[in-house]
Symmetry: C2
Subunit: 260 residues, 2 copies
Amino acid sequence: VALKALGEGEFEGTTHADYANMVGPYGGITAAVLLNAACLHPQQLGDPLAITVNYAGPVADGPFRVVARPVRTNRSTQHWFIEQWQGDAVCTTATALFGKRRETWTATEALRPAVPPADDVEPRRSPIPLAWMQRYELRPVVGGVPDPQHATPQTDSITTLWIRDHPARPLDALSLVALSDNFYPRVYRRLGHAVPAGTISMTTYLHADAAALATQGERPVLAFAWGQQFGGGYFDQSAQIWAEQGGLLASSHQLVYFKD
Amino acid sequence: VALKALGEGEFEGTTHADYANMVGPYGGITAAVLLNAACLHPQQLGDPLAITVNYAGPVADGPFRVVARPVRTNRSTQHWFIEQWQGDAVCTTATALFGKRRETWTATEALRPAVPPADDVEPRRSPIPLAWMQRYELRPVVGGVPDPQHATPQTDSITTLWIRDHPARPLDALSLVALSDNFYPRVYRRLGHAVPAGTISMTTYLHADAAALATQGERPVLAFAWGQQFGGGYFDQSAQIWAEQGGLLASSHQLVYFKD
């Protein structure tokens, strides 16, 4: 996610082979890169609260520019528009929201999936030979990556797993956004086989404050995803990223195209 | 949502007293206005599939400008960035995604709430005297607007209701986006009383194709919302808009600020 400042809100970066996907970089790392441009901007205020990333076109391996513009700064919130460019084409757009967190009434209403502790689940690397998947340590509980030889259609698209960066490192807002895109396309699980599919828009809401991130440290987070509606060449996925102990660190949603 | 074209991707509109909220217009109508700017743009292609609207600052009653820019057009998808301006300030930003729908495998995995038929639920107008709420006919099933005199804290923030425009009119993409913001803030229900609260970012995924909208017509849709995580001055809400008969027309998510 490293970026070099070129000028007012303009940055230069390059894709990294370790986060390569089938074509171009992993969408999660692109989301983190765009958020990082706002974080590095001298006018940035507050914590990242929300980001919507639109995967407008392919990102080629190599250099890119990111332009981050604070569209509006209020007393306690700040709104951003961010674009990733290669040559004359916009590859990715994002809007991001930063803001101050205040002490308020707190509650977790989402239901945490019932799972064994992370340490009781065998860690494994992804069976899919994509570079970015090797950058995560996975402990699948339910709905692991379908084995192309033996998978069958399923009546749900739920995946639950413990996950952390590999090598392990302390969780921060960028890695939280990156890993909110870690789930393989839900349609694979429903159909029982892989099909062409890709995220076109992803929104992540960051609930974790600095204390929650510090408590989490480099321990695995609990990740949970399911699809809601499939059809017309698209489906939507919702996801939750839970702290090892306790609350919801992030909720994330995406629209995915697929062919069958 | 009426807009007058001023020039290349630039439009002029004005707030309407019928959709007034506590301060400025109802967020749902603002979302529909921004989507409409892309719909009216001569370069627009395909169906609206997703929109993220960021409520960056207050919209004053009166005229506004909307600037809609097709950031990237691909073979089957088109990405937009849209801004609403008043004077020198950006009030609202949005990204929108349009695309072609194709015949594919279809499934609804989300669970439809079990409710009585719309015709068996008494229609009523909102007990809250806000102009925009009078523009909807509500048939609350669970979690109706809390009565300020008698409400008590609840252990969940679920609301389920049948809803349609008042006066009734056929559903389209704009009205679907508008009504995905109809839910009163989830935190009211949890706390048992109203507090200052407002949506800061909303994302709606539109699943309904032209046939699904035509089948729905002007009949009530089933609307369902719940909160996931509350704290630090923010909470997130997820919502589903179901066809009277059958499938999911839209799923919607938002981040809301609140004070307690």
